[in-house]
């Protein structure tokens, strides 16, 4: 057979056998293709990349060139790195606080209370503390605008003045009506400016309204005493306080002032074993109710009944005729009346109702109790709430009826926060001239033709008269950031003044009004400016005669129809308030003192009414609330303490033009507020409340509501027990020793650590659970002072809020202590305790022992130090912390687009101006926690060293302590026996021979430490809560 000679060609080239093919025939691979022949092989790519990466890495080693740019002409008062403090005045509508503004390099960075004011007495609130961030709100108007059609266009101030002036002239020429609408105005100089405007345009009427009206109180006083006013209340003089739905610690009239006064009566020591007794009758659980000794659950429709009942009970004792109505079965009413009568002259009854009839009866009760002249001062009237509901209603109907030709909205937002806002907003389109002067556009500005933005209050000169003869000066702490102009100047310019400088006007007003030739005026002015306040002697209180018609009032109350369906309470929450500052993320992320909800709007219901809602992990259902033809949909929040059959909805949500932060959260419930008996009523009857199937998760920072009876966490007693001769706390934890399990010793006596020696200072803190009302001002103050990141709703749901200081709010339970499942459930009408919880700066700190990189260590002054730059983020410390106060940075919250809305203070150029330059902004992956404001400690020590003297007590004040209106937080050096904290805790060294050892003994019987039995030896002591209850009182 012939061998097979079959030949396979590799290709046509082989067949053709061309020379090129022959030359390369022995090579395994053919020539590379043309596209690979560009000198950029895959290997080259990798080589280039490797080189590139290392080159970039090397280049990165070169530090960037940084500039240092000094002033051209350094202002005398400003030294870089040294803070300046200016006394000023916070006003927001009718809310007031005398403040001290801390500025660094010309930027306000922190607000604290001004102790020189006898009105606010150094107190602040969460709203005041947070207002510094509102200054740097990105949604502020950059300058004046004019609205042509739907679009708003920039305009110069000159043009705006010309156009507005011309239009006003035109309106005045044909006799048209002009209105200036505002909230309560505290500033006498502003009122003078408005008066000048009115003089020029005599058809002008000034209409004042309040977001939450107290018109009923004004009318009732007019009926009782012949003059519409709100008197000064002095809770500090009251030994029995009865409040019927008045949230005087949270929102009613002047909470900062009342909080200060209230705390004085709640403070107990071994020397002063007396405190006020506080009864609260209310439907929702307010912060005031949470602090009450006896809390009666009523429906809103029963507010009048409670007052009538109290009136009749006290009238019987006073020998006065009873009025019709009342219900003696109301729980605690008889007891309250008994106590009130016993404390005649030291008693105070207040009611939150805006119903004139209820308030007349309240006046009647106070008159019988002799409160006028003692706890109520009618001579020193207050100006916080001057709103006239009738005038405002007339204004809205005038605008609707086309009777008004020009409206100037002076720093107010009625389109959002007046119940008839929708109607007003729609009707404004047909008004010839509409101007808004608010520093932001907001809902009302969006309907106005001209936007003439005022300064933020921190940029402006102003004055205030919160109370009669108590004056307050506001000075700018920063030059205006944008092209804004004082609204008073605008008014005067539009009134035809050739030139207006509000500062000069203010100064000359003060010269005419207050300067009586004592010394030269400059000295007088400088002192007023330095103090921030000017207080003229109070006029002697004239005896007032109560002349209210109590019978008519009682019958008006009796005629109030009883409710068939649910009853609704519309209230101001403890964080957002009336919504004027709701674009402030500090407030959005501040947990409401009671519900602990953040970033969310909700409707509160009693656990009884929410039986079929499994409110675990805050997962809940939407409900519809329908009343008088209006309907809103909100998720339900189950609220222990809420009266069954009632629901509560906070105000301040549902903003549409507030800015990125607030817009779109919740619904606006101002439109639900109704006009009843001539004043606005924030309670509504016959509400339809229906479940939907839509699910929602509310962001809450605390979802476990009870402390399960663990006295190691919260210790409390009653005043009756406390007054016993040798009172001691019920609970003293002990531990067994190694020698014998039966041999028990105090946990402090044993330790596996050697302990510390604090030669210089030993910083400690005492927190009085009795005076802490849970308001949350300290939380905001801590956030601002320490550049604490805000994280937003989603992250809070994941339990990643960054707050260094939280306030744990615990409810009591009805279940017996051994029913472990039962004690998790809060009582129907629980007792409430607020416990501020922050790093306890343990002397045997469990976090320190587990850190693998020694990023958290102990200082020679007792501080548990956290070193961010050393932390590698293992989170062992947080796991080992018994108090759960260490917070981990899961993200880079600064310079991160994702957090721009929630955390503008670290993500926008404007917002960053608020950061405290002395505190590092933490990055991703590190742990952080309370530092005891170490920057303030260091600054205080340095000042003492520079002045070559020992440190004085009170020189270092932590941010939380400074913000605490009630003085519940005391911080200081417990090595110094003369310090306030040493005296309060009655501290002494355990071993007198070695006074600098860590071990200290407190002789104050109320002082205890949380989780004392684990032997971590915290540097924070809590003072046992004392409730003013009868000795045999069982759980309320």
């Amino acid at each position: 057979m012939e061998e097979s000679k079959k030949v396979y060609w590799k290709g046509i080239e082989q067949l053709a056998n061309n020379p090129e093919f022959v030359k390369h025939a022995h090579e395994e691979f053919a020539q590379p293709g043309p596209e690979e022949d560009l000198g950029h092989s895959r290997r080259d790519f990798l080589k280039m990349m490797g080189f590139g990466v290392s080159a970039v890495a090397l280049a990165a080693c070169e530090a960037p060139v940084r500039k240092a740019i000094p002033y051209v002409n350094k202002p005398l008062d400003i030294d870089p790195s040294i803070p300046n403090y200016y006394a000023s005045t916070y006003t927001n509508g009718g809310d007031y606080a005398s403040i001290v503004v801390k500025t660094r390099e010309g930027r306000p960075i922190k607000i604290e209370g001004n102790a020189l004011s006898s009105v606010s007495k150094g107190g602040t609130s969460a709203q005041v503390e947070a207002s510094v961030l509102s200054l740097y709100d990105n949604s502020r108007l950059r300058g004046p605008f004019k609205r042509g059609g739907e679009k708003k266009e920039k305009i110069t101030w000159e043009d705006l003045d010309k156009e507005v002036g011309a239009k006003l002239g035109e309106i005045a020429g044909k006799g048209g009506q002009i209105r200036i609408v505002s909230n309560s105005i505290l500033s006498p100089s502003t009122k003078a400016a408005i008066a000048k405007f009115t003089a020029k345009y005599p058809t002008t009427q000034h209409v004042q309204y309040d977001q939450v009206s107290a018109y009923g109180v004004l009318k009732a006083n007019e009926a009782s005493f012949g003059k519409a006013f709100i008197p000064s209340y002095d809770f500090s003089k009251a030994s029995v306080i009865v409040s019927v739905a008045a949230d005087f610690l949270g929102s009613w009239i002047s909470p900062i002032e009342f909080t200060k006064q209230y705390a004085i009566t709640r403070d107990v020591t071994e020397e002063k074993k007396e405190m006020s007794r506080h009864y609260q009758f209310e439907s929702i659980l307010s912060i005031t109710g949470a602090n009450a000794d006896y809390r009666g659950q009523i429906k809103p429709s029963e507010e009048g009944t409670v007052i009538v009942t109290l009136y009749n009970l006290i009238a019987a004792k006073a020998g006065k005729p009873a009025v019709s109505g009342g219900d003696e079965k109301i729980k605690y009413a008889a007891k309250a009346a008994e106590d009130l009568w016993a404390a005649r002259g030291k008693a105070l009854v207040v009611a939150g109702s805006n119903d004139k009839s209820v308030q007349i009866l309240v006046n009647g009760i106070n008159d019988m109790l002799g409160s006028y002249g003692t706890t109520i001062d009618t001579a020193v009237t207050v100006n916080y709430r001057q709103g006239d509901d009738a005038a405002m209603a007339a204004f809205v109907s005038d605008v609707e009826g086309g009777k008004v030709d020009g409206v100037i909205f002076y720093n107010c937002n009625p389109v959002y926060d007046y119940p008839q806002g929708d109607k007003l907003g729609a009707a404004l389109k047909s008004v010839a001239l509409t101007v808004a002067t608010s520093y932001k556009e907001e809902e009302t500005g969006a309907q106005a033709q001209y936007l003439a933005p005022d300064h933020h209050y921190l940029e402006a000169w102003n004055d205030a008269e919160p109370k009669k003869n108590m004056y307050s000066l506001g000075q700018p702490a920063i030059t205006p950031i944008f092209k804004s102009r004082a609204a008073q100047e605008s008014l005067l310019l539009w009134a035809g003044e050739p030139k207006a400088d509000y500062f000069e006007i203010l100064q000359s007003n003060w010269k005419t009004w207050f300067y009586k030739g004592q010394g030269d005026f400059q000295t007088f002015w400088d002192k007023a400016l330095y103090d921030g306040v000017l207080e003229l002697p109070a006029e002697p209180a004239a005896a007032v005669a109560f002349a209210g018609d109590v019978n008519a009032a009682a019958s008006a109350i009796a005629s109030t129809p009883k409710s068939a369906g649910f009853e609704l309470v519309i209230y101001e929450s403890g964080n957002i308030g009336n919504g004027s500052q709701s674009n402030n993320p500090l407030l959005q992320e501040l947990p409401d003192p009671i519900t602990k909800a953040v970033w969310d709007h909700y409707v509160t219901v009693s656990p009884k009414d929410a039986k079929d809602i499994n409110f675990s992990e805050s997962i809940t259902k939407y409900f519809t609330i329908a009343v008088e033809g209006k309907s809103v949909k909100l998720p339900v929040l189950v609220q222990p303490g809420q009266t069954p059959g009632t629901i509560g909805v906070p105000l301040g949500y549902g903003r549409t033009k507030a800015g990125k932060v607030a817009d779109g959260i919740g619904v606006n419930v101002y439109p639900l507020v109704a006009m009843v008996n001539g004043s606005l009523s924030y309670v509504l009857n016959n509400v339809k409340f229906d479940k939907t199937n839509e699910e929602y998760q509310i962001a809450q920072t605390q979802t476990h509501n009870t402390y399960m009876g663990r006295q190691t966490v919260v210790q409390e007693t009653t005043l009756a027990k406390f007054q016993e001769k040798h009172w001691d706390r019920e609970f003293h934890p002990t531990v067994s020793t190694w020698a014998d399990p039966k041999h028990k010793v105090a946990p402090g006596e044993m330790a596996i650590w050697k302990g510390h020696e604090y030669k210089d200072h030993h910083w400690g803190m005492a927190i009085d659970l009795n005076t802490c009302i849970g308001c949350g001002a300290c939380v905001v103050a801590c956030n601002v002072e320490n550049n604490v990141s805000l994280v937003g709703r989603e992250e809070v749901i994941k339990r990643r809020e960054m707050h260094w200081l939280r306030i744990d709010r615990y409810y009591s339970s009805d279940a017996p202590a051994d029913d472990w499942r039962g004690v998790e459930v809060a009582a129907e009408n629980p007792e409430v305790v607020f416990q501020p919880m922050l790093c306890q700066h343990c002397n045997n700190a469990p976090c320190e022992t587990v850190c693998p990189v020694a990023a958290t260590t102990h200082s020679t002054e007792g501080l548990n130090q956290m070193t961010y730059n050393r932390c590698i983020g293992t989170r062992y410390c947080a796991n080992n912390c018994p108090y759960k106060v260490r917070r981990f940075n899961w993200f880079k919250y600064h310079d991160n687009r994702q957090f721009e809305t929630a955390n503008p203070a670290m993500n926008t150029d404007l917002g960053k101006m608020v950061l405290n330059p002395d505190v590092t902004v933490r990055s991703r992956g590190v742990m952080e926690k309370c530092s005891f404001c170490v920057q303030r400690i260091q600054a205080g020590k340095l000042t003492a060293k520079r002045e070559r003297r020992p440190m004085n007590d009170g020189e270092v004040v932590t941010a939380c302590q400074a913000s605490c209106s009630t003085g519940a937080i005391v911080f200081g050096d417990i090595n110094n026996p003369e310090s306030k904290i040493s005296k309060l805790l009655k501290i002494r060294p355990a071993d007198p021979e070695r006074p600098h050892r860590v071990d200290k003994i407190t002789d104050n019987p109320r002082a205890y430490q949380v989780l004392e039995e684990i032997g971590v030896k915290p540097n924070i002591w809590y003072l046992t809560k004392v409730r003013n209850k009868d000795k045999d009182a069982t759980k309320a």
Partner: protein, 433 residues
């Protein structure tokens, strides 16, 4: 001051410590009252006699350095005339007092001597020191007189403060050389002894009966080749090379971010050598924040203009560089200096703690700044560098009541002076928060 002065609000409370000037003025005052009593008792001549008391001289020196030195020297002419013998030269002591307090007033009054002086110095107005008391001026004169006379007697070299640190001058150089030479000698001797040993062993082995292979081993020559190819040698070389390489990499990594020696070009060729070195202007005259704040502060243009209102021509750069300052002043445009000393944001450093409280010289950290035409970063500015100093440095507790208790407690336990370390100076939260 800003023209719009209504936006310069009143200071309520400032975190500053009492002005230093006020401090020494007050102490000077206290002292002066003494001097006056003295003078009063010795009413031999008149009250205008210039004191020779050392205390007056030193008080005067402090005042002179803080206030006068920017423009005057005792021996040489600067912006203003040399001040030696001014007390004899000027019409009267009273004249000097009124001129210092209000020179323009004296000139305007038509005083001959004052006008002559004014014209001689290109109509340069002397700053009015209205806050000076007569006693202050007498103290300054006392200092001037002392200086005038002292300089005539002995020429004391008044060099800048030498940079501190590193001074372990215990062993002299020749002594070290002797030791080195001795050790070398011993090494050579050792080699020779080893050589002898090897040949002796060889001889001993040759006498024995050895196999061929063993003989080969014994006689195999020790050449460079055999040494270098031995595994031991290779191991040592590789190990050394590896270790050195590793060290080099580590050193390289450690140097990342360290800018020691960083001396960038500045927008204005400002020379510390001239200002701080030759003219001996006090550092605090320009760096005003150094005693009271975290930041020493780079001087604002108005401080430069205090002198450069008059001085328009520099020694090294002529008029060009100074013109930049004037331009910045006139155009109200700040000068963008390049920052040399950059601490990371996570580290807190406060100048007043170190300069005011501890009394650390500027040169301790910033090096011989008075010799630098262009400022460079002298120190490492690493944490190790900080810690090292905190370990070595004694706390300046003298006259500072803050430390009294600490010193007392420290003395109970230790005989060495209290270091910064003993006071918690190495703790994290002293610098990181």
């Amino acid at each position: 001051m800003s023209s719009d002065s209504r936006f310069v609000p009143l200071v309520l409370k400032t975190d500053t410590e009492p002005n230093m000037n006020r401090n020494f003025i007050s102490s000077a005052c206290k002292f002066l009252s003494l001097v006056f009593v003295f003078a009063f008792l010795n009413l031999t001549s008149n009250a205008q006699e210039i004191s020779k008391e050392p205390a007056a001289i030193s008080a005067g020196e402090t005042l002179f350095n803080a206030n006068c030195k920017a423009c005057h020297r005792v021996k040489s002419k600067l912006v203003g005339p040399a001040l030696q013998n001014v007390y004899d030269r000027a019409p009267s002591i009273d004249w000097i007092k009124s001129f210092v307090k209000n020179s323009s007033g004296v000139i305007a009054s038509g005083d001959d001597y004052a006008n002559k002086l004014y014209n001689e110095f290109n109509k340069t107005q002397m700053t009015a020191f209205s806050s000076f008391k007569d006693a202050d001026i007498m103290n300054i004169l006392a200092y001037i007189k002392a200086e005038t006379e002292k300089v005539a007697v002995t020429q004391v070299p008044n060099g800048p403060v030498p940079p501190t640190g590193g001074g372990d001058g215990g062993v002299s150089k020749t002594y070290l050389d002797v030791i080195l030479a001795g050790m070398l000698l011993i090494l050579v001797l050792l080699l020779i002894i080893l050589g002898f040993l090897v040949s002796a062993l060889k001889r001993f082995l040759d006498q024995k009966e050895l196999s061929e292979e063993e003989k080969e081993v014994v006689h195999s020559p020790i050449t460079l080749g055999t040494v270098t190819s031995s595994s031991g040698f290779i191991f040592i070389v590789v190990f050394l090379a590896g270790a050195l390489g590793f060290k080099a990499v580590i050193n390289g990594l450690y140097s990342i971010g360290i800018q020691q020696g960083y001396a960038p070009k500045q927008p204005i060729a400002f020379s510390h050598k001239i200002h701080a070195g030759q003219l001996e202007i006090d550092c605090k005259y320009c760096h005003v924040g150094v005693m009271k704040g975290k930041s020493a502060t780079i001087p604002s243009v108005n401080i430069c203009m205090n002198c450069h209102n008059q001085i328009k021509e520099g020694q090294q750069t002529g008029t060009g560089e100074i013109a930049k300052i004037t331009a910045a002043w006139e155009n109200k445009k700040p000068i963008e200096w390049v920052r040399i000393h950059n601490l990371p944001d996570l580290a807190y450093f406060n100048h007043s703690q170190h300069v005011n409280v501890a009394g650390v010289e500027c040169q301790t950290c910033h090096g011989p700044i008075e010799t630098m035409d262009v400022v460079r970063q002298h120190s490492l500015l690493t944490m190790g560098w900080c810690i090292d100093c905190h370990r070595k440095t004694d706390v300046n507790t003298k006259g500072n009541a803050y430390y009294d208790k600490l010193v007392e407690l420290h003395k109970e336990k230790s005989k060495t002076p209290m270091k910064v370390e003993d006071e918690g100076g190495l703790e994290c939260a002293k610098c990181h928060y």
